[in-house]
Symmetry: C2
Subunit: 265 residues, 2 copies
């Protein structure tokens, strides 16, 4: 870990630390104010259908950038940014099976690969915290609870499957403010997709999330559900893509964009 | 009633009909797209405290305009608009008691009176309907149900009292869209103040509203609560103001402003 105060840390500084092997863990809390992104890398043959899938499902799959085929740099997200080295940990998938979790993908990169960068809830959680809204999973030191729903995504080619949602318990007035705040951030999942009646979207038991950890829900709170960035990974895994690379959970790409730049105005 | 198709009717045309005594009923549905306003008229001695009250309580008391003392015209809301003749029905209050419901206030106007024009939920209901959201009280041909809450207003001088809210039952995904849509209209009550847990805001029985009519709530719906324009009238009635004029319920001022002009951008 570096000694630079994190509040002054830039996205580029974090990427340089990661590239040099000096930051190897999750990226939560690093470079406050800077946008972090989910990574999905696919061969060009599969890229058109996945791009259509994202275009049709903007709430779970909000696109921040798509690379040129074979091009590991994405200048719109950061100077000198290199997809192959600038995330702390990756996952390599073959035929839907996880086969490796390397710290870089220099040895896996190919001239036909396309990188998709998707928005991440870290951006909107920062906006909620800045508004004084307390997030239970952060206070309890847990991963946010996530659930498979009965809300279908719009399929594109081989990509299909149910939407995955994350859940944050909030008091009603907070839920309204959180809806307004996250509605201003359509490229990081936007406003919630559901509130209050989980059985309506196929969630039978909030204490048993499909991903992440359960959190306490108080009697004066409603469960509020946002479309989740796990959706595209679940969809890619279910599609039997022969080859795919993603980030490892929580080990995101830190960009040069500011969260505030994502707000619609 | 006139034969002009209502969808082409302007706010000014409706005011001319009312002034000529050719429209005497409620204004709901007239001049679609034009802003309608609540009216509160107070003597100048009470006007400063009421203006402070509105400034401190913008959700129930969203100010569209305040007249000069003694001036019955409000040019910012309409050419030739005359507060004394352009509403179909008024209420005259003395010491908190309703004493008359005249069709004009020419005989009651005084040189020390100040007119307050406050936003009305008709504007945001039009935006919800335009989005395809169905409103139960309209479908059931009833007045919207309204409830006194335990949410205090911020007092100013003699003006104080609990917030009154209106309630519309919506399915969760509609409630989220309605929150985003009405949040763009801060001058007509803005986003909801509560959702889903009425007992938290002091409402014991949704089937017994304090004003308006009860409406059906289906099992797949949540009650959604907005700050209500009845609040300032209830506050004025409770303040023992010696003299006050308001519109009669549903008999609003139709202005030259367009609802779409009220949206923040």
């Amino acid at each position: 870990m570096e000694q630079i105060p994190k509040t002054q840390e830039t996205g580029q500084a974090v990427r340089m630390l990661i590239r040099a092997g000096r930051h190897t863990g999750p990226t939560a809390g690093r470079a406050p104010g800077y946008v972090q992104a989910n990574l999905v890398v696919l061969p060009r043959d599969w890229a058109f259908d996945f791009l259509r899938f994202c275009q049709q499902n903007p709430k779970p799959c909000p696109l921040l950038a798509v690379s040129e085929p074979g091009e590991p740099h994405v200048p719109s997200l950061g100077e000198d940014l290199d997809i192959r080295t600038d995330l702390p940990r990756y996952r390599i998938w073959r035929d839907g099976e996880l086969i490796a979790e390397p710290a870089d993908i220099l040895g896996h990169w190919r001239g036909d690969l396309v990188a998709f960068l998707l928005g991440c809830s870290f951006s909107f959680e920062e906006a909620l915290i800045a508004d004084g809204i307390r997030l239970r999973h952060i206070e309890q030191g847990r991963n946010v609870p996530m659930y498979r729903t009965n809300i279908p995504t719009q399929p594109a080619g081989p990509f299909h499957g149910p939407m995955v949602v994350s859940m944050r318990p909030l008091r009603p007035a907070e839920a309204i403010r959180a809806t307004l705040i996250t509605g201003r951030f359509p490229t990081v999942h936007g406003a919630p997709v559901h509130i209050g009646l989980p059985e309506q979207i196929g969630i039978a038991d909030l204490t048993r999330p499909d991903y992440g950890d359960p959190v306490d829900i108080h009697p004066d709170e409603l469960p509020v559900f946002w479309a989740c960035g796990v959706t595209p990974q679940a969809v890619v895994a279910a599609s039997a893509v022969p080859f795919c690379i993603t980030h490892a959970p929580g080990h995101m790409l830190v960009t040069d964009l500011r969260n505030s730049q994502l707000a619609i105005s």
